[in-house]
Every structure is written in structure tokens, then in C-alpha cells.
């Protein structure tokens, strides 16, 4: 096995064999994962998946031998998608958000975030939350996730445990995927 940065990595043949061994449920998962990561990148989900596979085969994104290939493709798609959103942000002309006379030298990050982008973010957030107006518990769960709560905090917030918690997460995921595909939930 080749070694890269001190880690044993999968060979190209190994990667190909692992992907060819994917089952029908695995491909269903990959389709859903690609769609969730491609959302609002400007890329089609198949392009995103193809790019992740291409980078893995070409060795620009190596898969360590101890990492599941599906997990590796998920991380790679996530990374590419984040990069694309960042590129889109950098290509957007930014109006300064700081008020004249206000000392903004101590807080530079907000100057990177235009008022227009903030409106887009807030509108997107509102759109996501509105999808759960009929289900206050799901809405609380989404709000908690967006606020960065961990699993225990989310369970405490919603009062959900075990299967009920997982079922609610699944409902949220399926509705959001429909949103990403432009379909009514």
C-alpha cells in the first residue's frame, strides 16, 4: 500500500473495487448525499459526485486505508461544495457593512459578509424553518441544529429520545432534500 503524509492510502485499484462493490442501497445513499451537498453550489449533484470520484482516482484526494470509501466520498463532496460556495462568495462584489465612524478594525470578519449576502442567508434560513411550520418539534430541532447544538442538547431541547429522535431527523432530511430538488414537501 502506498503511503502519503505518513498514512497508508488506498491504491487506485482498491478504490475502484470498493466503489464497484457498492450495493443498490449504497447508491441510493450516495445519490441523496450528493444532492444534499450540491445544494446551492451551482453544481449538479452528478457533477459533484463525479468530481469527488475523479479526485480520488487521480490521487488529489487520497483515501486512507482505514477510512470507509463512502465516508471518504462524503467528506470529499463536502469539501468541494464548501470550496465552490466560498468561490461564489469571493466573486460577489461586497458592499461594506460597517457604519462610517465605527471602529471596525477589531472585528474584520463582518466586513467580508455583505448586507446582500446576509439577506440571502436570512431568507434561506426562514425558508428552511417555514417548511416545518406544521411540526413545531421538527422546527425546534432544525433551529437547534442551525444554532450549533450537539446531540444531547438537541434531545433536551425537543424532548425526543431514541427512535423518536431519529425518526424526526429523517423527516427533516427528507423534506430538506425535496426542497433542494425544488419539490413541495
Amino acid at each position: 500500500m502506498p503511503v502519503h503524509n505518513g498514512k497508508r492510502i488506498r491504491t487506485r485499484d482498491d478504490v475502484e473495487a470498493a466503489v464497484r462493490a457498492f450495493s443498490v442501497p449504497d447508491w441510493s445513499r450516495l445519490d441523496q448525499l450528493a444532492k444534499s451537498f450540491a445544494f446551492r453550489t451551482g453544481w449538479g449533484f452528478e457533477d459533484l459526485l463525479q468530481e469527488a470520484i475523479m479526485r480520488t482516482l487521480q490521487g488529489t484526494r487520497n483515501c486512507p486505508t482505514n477510512v470507509d470509501i463512502m465516508k471518504h466520498l462524503v467528506d470529499t463532496m463536502s469539501s468541494i461544495a464548501d470550496g465552490e460556495r466560498e468561490k461564489a462568495h469571493n466573486q460577489t462584489p461586497h458592499e461594506p457593512t460597517a457604519q462610517p465612524g465605527v471602529d471596525d478594525a477589531k472585528d474584520p470578519p463582518s466586513s467580508e459578509w455583505s448586507a446582500e449576502e446576509n439577506l440571502v442567508y436570512e431568507a434561506g434560513r426562514a425558508e428552511i424553518l417555514a417548511m416545518f411550520d406544521d411540526d413545531p418539534v421538527a422546527r425546534d430541532l432544525v433551529e437547534g441544529i442551525l444554532a450549533g447544538f450537539d446531540t444531547e442538547q438537541l434531545k433536551e431541547l425537543t424532548g425526543l429520545q431514541g427512535t423518536a429522535y431519529n425518526t424526526k431527523r429523517t423527516l427533516i432530511r427528507r423534506r430538506l432534500l425535496k426542497l433542494s430538488q425544488g419539490r413541495t414537501p
Binding site: 442501497p25 447508491w27 450516495l30 470520484i53 475523479m54 482516482l57 441544529i145
Partner: protein
């Protein structure tokens, strides 16, 4: 006003929760949900497998181009480019624009500005061989 980093992190968190849920869902459940929300899982699997095999072929071609580019780079350094590189890039851009909707061109291949001079010349040569160029 929401900070940019905070907004980015919150949406990443939501995507991660979705990804974890997809990975944790049992085979039976994911198949049933897929059939209800999207369509036939078997048809999807066949399409995805075909996409994968196409990507393997493209990666193989890429390896071939890279090997050729190595030779081309040596030739360029010893004999100079057969056409000015700016002209070569313009011609490549023309071909890529003409095939902008062609899925057989990977996204990487569609970005002429990110290619080295040797890659540009090699890609033009490969396109000539494929009959995409005179």
C-alpha cells in the same frame, strides 16, 4: 446581523446532520424512502454505476494526457511551442465553450484557465485526434 462564519457553520451543521442520517439509515429504510421520494433504486444504481465507469475512463484518459503532457513539456522546452500559447488557449476555450453542455467533459477539463501550458497543448492534440478540431 449574523456573522458570516456563524452562518456558514450553521448550514454546514445542518448538512452534516443530514449526511449522518443518510449513512445511519438501514438498507431497507433507505430503499423504501428512495422509492417514495425519487423513484426506482435499481434504475438509480444502474445510472450511478454507469457514471462511475465513465469517470474511471476519463481518469484513465487524464493519466494518458498527463504522460503525454510530460513529453510535450520536454518538446516545448527544447523546441518551443508549435503555436503561440495564447493562441492555443484561445482555441481550447473555443472548443470547450462549444461543448459546454457535453457531460463527457469533466468540470476540471472545462476550466482552461487552470491548465498548464503543456496540458493546454496536449488537450488540443487529444481533441484533434478525437476529431473535435481541424
Amino acid at each position: 446581523m449574523t456573522e458570516r462564519k456563524e452562518a456558514r457553520k450553521s448550514l454546514q451543521g445542518l448538512r452534516q446532520v443530514m449526511a449522518d442520517n443518510i449513512l445511519e439509515t438501514s438498507d431497507e429504510e433507505i430503499l423504501a424512502q428512495f422509492a417514495e421520494d425519487v423513484g426506482s433504486p435499481d434504475v438509480n444504481a444502474a445510472g450511478m454505476r454507469a457514471l462511475f465507469e465513465k469517470t474511471v475512463l476519463l481518469a484513465n484518459k487524464g493519466r494518458l494526457y498527463a504522460a503525454r503532457a510530460g513529453v510535450a513539456a520536454i518538446n516545448i522546452s527544447s523546441a518551443g511551442s508549435p503555436i503561440p500559447i495564447a493562441e492555443a488557449r484561445a482555441r481550447l476555450r473555443q472548443v470547450l465553450d462549444a461543448h459546454a453542455l457535453d457531460k463527457s467533459f469533466t468540470l476540471a477539463a472545462r476550466k482552461e484557465s487552470e491548465l498548464s501550458d503543456a496540458d493546454v497543448l496536449d488537450m488540443l492534440e487529444a481533441m484533434r485526434e478525437l476529431g473535435l478540431l481541424d
